[in-house]
Amino acid sequence: MKLTGAEALIKSLEKEGVEVIFGYPGGAVLPIYDVLYDSKIRHILVRHEQCAAHAADGYARVTGKVGVCMATSGPGATNLVTGIANAQLDSIPMVAFTGQVATHMIGTDGFQEADITGITLPIVKHNYLVKDAKDLPQIVREAFYIASSGRPGPVLIDIPADVSKAQCVYRESAQLNLAGYKPTIKGHARQIKQAAKAICQAERPLIVGGGGILRSRAWDELQKLVRLTRIPITTTLMGKSAYPETDDLYIGMPGMHGTRCANYALTECDLLVAIGMRFDDRVTGKLSVFAPEALVVHIDIDPAEISKNIKARIPIVGDAKAVLKQLLVAVEKEKLEGTKDIEAWREQINNWKKKYPLIYKKDGKLRPEFVVEKTCEITKGKAIIATEVGQNQMWAAQFYKCTKPGSFVSSGGLGTMGFGLPASIGAQVGKPDEVVIDIAGDGSVQMVSQELATAVASKLPINIFILNNGYLGMVRQWQELFYHCRYSSTDLAVGTPDFVKLAEAYGAKGIRVTKKSEVESAIKEAIKSPKTVVVDFVVEREENVFPMVPSGVSISEMIGGEIE
């Protein structure tokens, strides 16, 4: 069967089960868009390529499928870069397609030429420059496999215009044979046994769940392990929603803006079972004094993460779900030999939990924490929450108690402002029947506000809750605390648009909330509306996120967030 490269590509994507592509057309991808016109694959037209990548990222996080985005050559491709880097740092399965100038033009500085495979080398799991149309089916197969297996990540496929147009004999992809790529799935039996033994013998054990739990959809196994062992659990920002946060044994998020309880528990535990997390500096604070008394069991699918930052005494390389299954069996067995009583430790943790809850001032003023808390209450912790980056993100992490796995969509590793709005577009496309809320800041959302057009045009009932304080709040907070209140370039008050009018200009619904008493009805109205809704919560301007671990100290040395 003879097909053009573009036809072979779309056929391969259909074979992979791709339902939606987030993209933006242009000269070098014209042949592909022409074929897409007749395909059953849905195309969501974004208004900036960066958001195509973020939307694909959000889609992948909530569905567990590979997110797909597409852009043209040159600036289209370079605009994807931030979104690709974001997916790489948070280990999100994504395949990005870019157009490229015709093969004979490559290397001549042709119109809209950018060496995108070169540019993205440090931020992809793998990438391809397609030289021959007949290679496309095989490359697509490989790309989807690489993106979604092992430690997931983005794969980029760069397709020159002449390759898209060329006729080729379409041959279905053959058996994959990637000699240099063989992810380890199952954990080493002896290591698992040792881990089980350590779990049963510890006096002050603690479990830390990371994004790996969500990527491998291992939340049931994680819950079983916690129930079986009754060990307290904390989840990192990336692992948020992997464990129901209303549970007794859940102690909140660790790290820079984590709970005091989680940070004290990490500092005093004698066993740390880290699952699918990588000891990021926002979690550990000063490395040399992190979890000083803990024997570390580190379960991760990426061998390069083991002992990278924190030395693991019992390393287990493997997929979180597979390893947890093995571990459950091993712990059951080990328990027969008897376990240490950890009641005193649980009590200690409960005391911390009681003594240091997350707090904010409960006065008549409209405070951002209250907005998040109300949102959580009204949605019963079951909405899909996307966040931007900064204070809004930390308040969302602190006060929205997720009870549904995979429902928290946030840019953890790269910390990309402007992630939340496009990510919530992707999330809503992936989960059309669920309530999707982007908890945003006025700064972040202005980086991508053009995507309101995408949401409206695609009839997506996403809710954008802007915690509007007229500042780049997190940066301002640091300036307040560490730079003598010198608010250098962080005041956004002048120039910030009227978000209600902005929403209406795009054909979305706009609601403004200035009083505490209006919060509940506004949230309910937004969620009920079938339209894209922007709610402008005009909150206290100089609210800070507490507790907080200043940089360069132990996570046990938090400031703020104590009951006076």
Partner: protein
């Protein structure tokens, strides 16, 4: 401490950039790097000499392993390895010193591969020490140009079954 890594990779365009980029990203300086096809034309072998403490080298090797085009990495044990490099040295050789230079070349079992009016070009093959030694010997005569391949290396074969 110097390490010699023998890295088996797919013989494909762009693989060198992937590997070199990884070293620089992770803050590693490559002392030398030699690459060429292996007995199987699908693969190339890179011999990379790096200077680094063991812990961070371990991290780089793990990161290298994650590259889809990397099949195998060996941190070669110097006692169990044969390593060679090839150096070409163009040295000043006026009639007054020419005989001395030829004598040095003989001692090192090097070869003269080009003779000109005022220079000799010398080819030396050997391990790093030998190459370094002849370079030092010739330096006083005035080395005009020097090119070296970087080390290539293989683990020694088994001596007994």
């Amino acid at each position: 401490m110097k390490h010699t890594l023998s890295v088996l990779v797919d013989n494909e365009p762009g693989v060198l950039a992937r590997i070199a980029g990884l070293f620089s990203r992770r803050g590693f300086n490559i002392d030398s790097l030699a690459v060429g096809r292996t007995e199987d034309s699908k693969y190339s072998r890179m011999t990379i000499v790096v200077d680094g403490e063991t812990h961070s080298l371990e991290q780089v090797m793990k990161q290298l392993h994650k590259l889809v085009n990397v099949l195998k990495i060996n941190d070669l044990d110097p006692r169990e390895t044969v390593g060679r490099e090839l150096v070409l040295i163009k040295v000043n050789a006026p009639p007054a010193t020419r005989a001395q230079i030829i004598e040095i070349v003989d001692i090192f079992r090097a070869n003269i591969v080009d003779v000109a009016k005022n220079t000799l070009t010398i080819e030396v093959t050997g391990d790093t020490n030998k190459v370094h030694a002849i370079e030092e010997m010739l330096r006083p005569y005035g080395v005009k140009e020097l090119a070296r391949t970087g080390k290539i290396a293989l683990a020694r074969g088994l001596k007994s079954e």
